[in-house]
């Protein structure tokens, strides 16, 4: 496989994953705003930060009112991480790696882009927002579904999976990191209804509210939520779930290619560190520090993969 093709696949799946996560963040933000309008500005500010669009947003806006934030995150051409830009970039990458995709996957990406381009051609009125957000997630799910149903499990599959998982782990870590103070036992609001709403928002941002409640019943504590999204090996958006997938994908690549790679070593180390962690120890060293460390190592792994597999000349 061409190094450029591996790169295109990796980024295409990162971009699709990120667009879906942005839609989720907006959804959680909307929910927050509906629940308590009072400090809406803060909430939307943290949504922008979590979406990784803080700098781009501040360059063009001051103040965080819902309409402008939502418009910026969903369809602003000036925001490289807007859903529209991400989907378009993913579609361009799909065109570039067309030979590595099945026809079904390509058609789903292309059709998804056509439909979203149309749905996001004008500012989305708030009455349509839920529909548009669900459309974004459905379109991304269609691509992933047809991919899982039709892709050969070879190196092509590994690069796509690595892209999806690396982006997802990064997003989950950022969701937690932006809100980490809410989960700290020392905050004054502990046990207040404000906290409950914040916690629920964190879980919603990762589409994890339902499974969390299912697993833990009424036992909603900051530590449990943090553990669920970081160390739980069954939760598909947790850091640990993603790192164990890195290991599988990179093991498979090394086996297919009959060679060792530095990225495989990094992935193993990262995964083992998470496996050996307890949430108590994480809180002791500091959740923020833990997440910051993870985001750095996750980035380093991404760069090492680009390097090991010759993404660039």
């Amino acid at each position: 496989m061409l190094g450029r093709t591996a790169s295109g696949l990796f980024w295409m799946f990162r971009q699709l994953e990120r667009s879906e996560n942005t839609a989720r963040l907006v959804e959680a933000g909307m929910r927050m705003a509906l629940t308590r309008a009072a400090s809406g500005e803060n909430e939307w500010a943290s949504v922008v930060t979590t979406a990784g669009a803080g700098d781009a947003y501040r360059e063009t806006h001051d103040g965080y009112d819902a309409d402008r934030v939502i418009d910026f995150l969903l369809r602003d051409k000036r925001n490289p991480s807007s859903v529209l830009n991400l989907f378009e970039a993913a579609r361009n990458n799909a065109r570039m790696v067309r030979t590595a995709l099945t026809r079904e996957v390509w058609e789903n990406v292309n059709e998804g882009w056509l439909i979203l381009k149309d749905a996001l051609a004008r500012p989305v009125p708030s009455s349509h927002l839920p529909d548009v957000l669900s459309l974004i997630r459905r379109r991304s799910a269609l691509v992933r579904g047809s991919w899982n149903g039709t892709a050969l499990r070879n190196d092509i599959y590994c690069f796509a999976r690595l892209g999806t998982r690396i982006e997802r782990a990064d997003n989950t870590a950022r969701i937690l990191d932006v809100k980490y103070y809410v989960l700290l036992p020392s905050t004054s609001n502990v046990g207040s209804s404000l906290d409950n709403v914040q916690w629920e928002s964190i879980l919603r941002s990762a589409s994890a509210a339902r499974s969390f409640n299912w697993l833990f019943g009424g036992e909603t504590t900051p530590m449990k939520i943090a553990e669920f999204l970081t160390l739980n090996a069954q939760m598909p958006r947790s850091l640990r779930f993603c790192t164990s997938d890195y290991v599988r994908a990179l093991d498979t690549l090394c086996e297919l290619y009959g060679e060792r790679s530095d990225s495989r070593l990094l992935a193993h180390a990262l995964n083992e560190d998470l496996a050996g962690q307890t949430i108590e120890a994480v809180f002791k060293t500091g959740l923020h520090e833990f997440l910051g460390g993870f985001i750095m190592r996750n980035n380093a792994l991404s760069l090492q993969i680009e390097n090991d597999y010759r993404f660039n000349a």
């Binding site: 190094g3 361009n92 067309r98 030979t99 390509w106 292309n110 000349a313």
Partner: protein
């Protein structure tokens, strides 16, 4: 009066169309229109678009597709294939001769000045032996029809003919929309073209190739107007779709950067023009090519399809010599007719052309894309007068042809079936094992009433082309 391929003077279906017209008369027009919308949606979803740069923002457009097929009988096609095969054979023999002994010039059949001063000539190809002796692996021969048995070659495309993906997707679309038609009417399949292309390219592998040839399709990239086709062909052939920056020369081979390091490519189906192929040997500023690829080619390290320098064979100045060229290399009279062409360099021809400017099409020998051209019947008196002076000042720079009465095939227009002018581009594969012509080809159709311009850049559309089985 124009020759309509579907209906005769009495409005009766001509022989190849009888079964189709029987089917058509039972179809209601609402259903057909719904099918047209379905086809549009299908093309959009599959992304069969071409890029246009008419405004600042690059835009992707669909080429209009018309669902009424263009139908050719087995007998007509048999005759055409013989003529095409002969012509393509002659093109390859001519190219070999021009880049080696130049017998045809010595025999006085083609003037030396026409070759020596031609911009399409690639002197670096002198004495180079292309792998398998093939120059034009893929040829598109543009044909027009003016009557029942009157076909003319409008031009040869010996560089990088495009459009074959439309031929294939048009058929796929028709099969999806009207499966019942194909169970009733036996139409020659076209779907094995990618496989044949792969075989044909493999058979032309260079001496350096050991084992199963590795094939790459070289594209200028995403923004090229034919990118869809490049990706489509690579995907269908199971070849790598490469760009110049994926490739480099190493150890006497051209190698592509894979996830596991550099791997040699044996055959490169390039969709990049000669000039841009190799910044070391040709245009130094080219970002699309591979530095040093031409040296590897000359040493037998890679097959480039089509070979560099084939443009000399489809040059406008040479077109009028094609009947002589065909006869010189095949020993037989050309089966396919050329459009009669007056070379204005010749004094008798010039006076004829000057007397008949209002009825003729006059083209610049080295022009392309319709620039510097006079279409007599459509020009004003003033334009004709101005052109007359240009022509007199530089007669050898021009050729002239009659305005052809292109045949028509109906399209489904708003008002119902309406005749529109068509041409035909059959696709020809050449390998050391022989010549293969895919039955049919790409029918281009002028969607505007009365228009003779079928180019997609001018709003032309396409039709599925059927060759009936015997």
């Amino acid at each position: 009066m124009f020759f309509d391929e579907m209906l005769d003077e009495n409005g009766e279906a001509r022989e190849p169309y009888t079964a189709y017209c029987d089917w058509l008369k039972d179809m209601d027009s609402t259903a057909l229109r719904r099918k047209a919308r379905e086809a549009d949606a299908f093309f959009r979803r599959t992304g069969i678009t071409f890029n246009v740069y008419s405004d600042a923002k690059a835009d992707e457009r669909l080429i209009p597709f018309d669902q009424i097929p263009r139908i050719i009988s087995a007998r007509e096609w048999a005759k055409l294939t013989k003529g095409i095969e002969q012509r393509v054979q002659a093109l390859n023999a001519f190219l070999h001769d021009i880049y080696h002994d130049q017998d045809i010039i010595r025999a006085g059949k083609v003037p030396q000045s026409l070759i020596a001063r031609n911009a399409a000539l690639l002197p670096k190809m002198f004495g180079v032996e292309p792998p398998g002796g093939v120059y034009t692996h893929i040829v598109g021969v543009d044909l027009v029809r003016t009557g029942k048995d009157e076909f003319f070659v409008l031009e040869d495309n010996a560089r990088t003919p495009s459009g074959v993906s439309y031929m294939l997707e048009n058929r796929e679309t028709m099969l999806n929309m009207f499966p019942e038609l194909f169970s009733g009417i036996r139409v020659e399949a076209v779907s094995d073209y990618p496989l044949k292309l792969r075989r044909s390219l493999s058979a032309s592998a260079p001496p350096a190739c050991d084992g199963r040839p590795v094939i790459g399709v070289l594209t200028p990239g995403l923004h090229n107007s034919a990118y869809y086709e490049h990706a489509f062909l690579a995907e269908q052939m199971g070849a790598e779709l490469v760009e110049g920056h994926d490739l480099r020369v190493a150890d006497g081979r051209v190698a592509m950067r894979t996830t596991q390091g550099y791997t040699p490519i044996d055959v490169l189906y390039r969709r990049v023009d000669d000039d841009y192929l190799d910044p070391l040997n040709f245009k130094p500023e080219s970002m699309l090519g591979v530095p040093g690829i031409f040296d590897v080619y000359r040493a037998g390290g890679i097959t480039i399809a089509n070979a560099p320098g084939t443009g000399i064979a489809d040059d406008k100045a040479l077109y009028s010599y094609m009947p002589d060229i065909v006869e010189f290399y095949t020993g037989k009279t050309a089966i396919l007719q050329n459009v009669p062409t007056w070379r204005c360099a010749d004094a008798d021809s010039l006076s004829h052309v000057l007397d008949n400017l209002a009825d003729l099409v006059v083209k610049e020998v080295h022009g392309s894309g319709g620039y510097g051209m006079l279409v007599g019947p459509a020009a004003s008196k003033k334009e004709i007068a101005a052109f007359r002076e240009k022509l007199k000042a530089n007669p050898e720079g021009y050729i002239a042809q009659p305005t052809l009465a292109l045949s028509t095939v109906p399209v489904l227009a708003k008002s119902g079936l309406a005749p529109r002018h068509v041409d035909l581009r059959p696709f020809v594969l050449v390998s050391p094992d022989g010549i293969d012509i895919t039955p049919g080809g790409l029918t281009r159709v002028a969607m505007k009433e009365g228009s003779l311009v079928v180019n997609s850049s001018q709003g032309g559309g396409t039709k599925d082309t059927w060759v009936l089985e015997d």
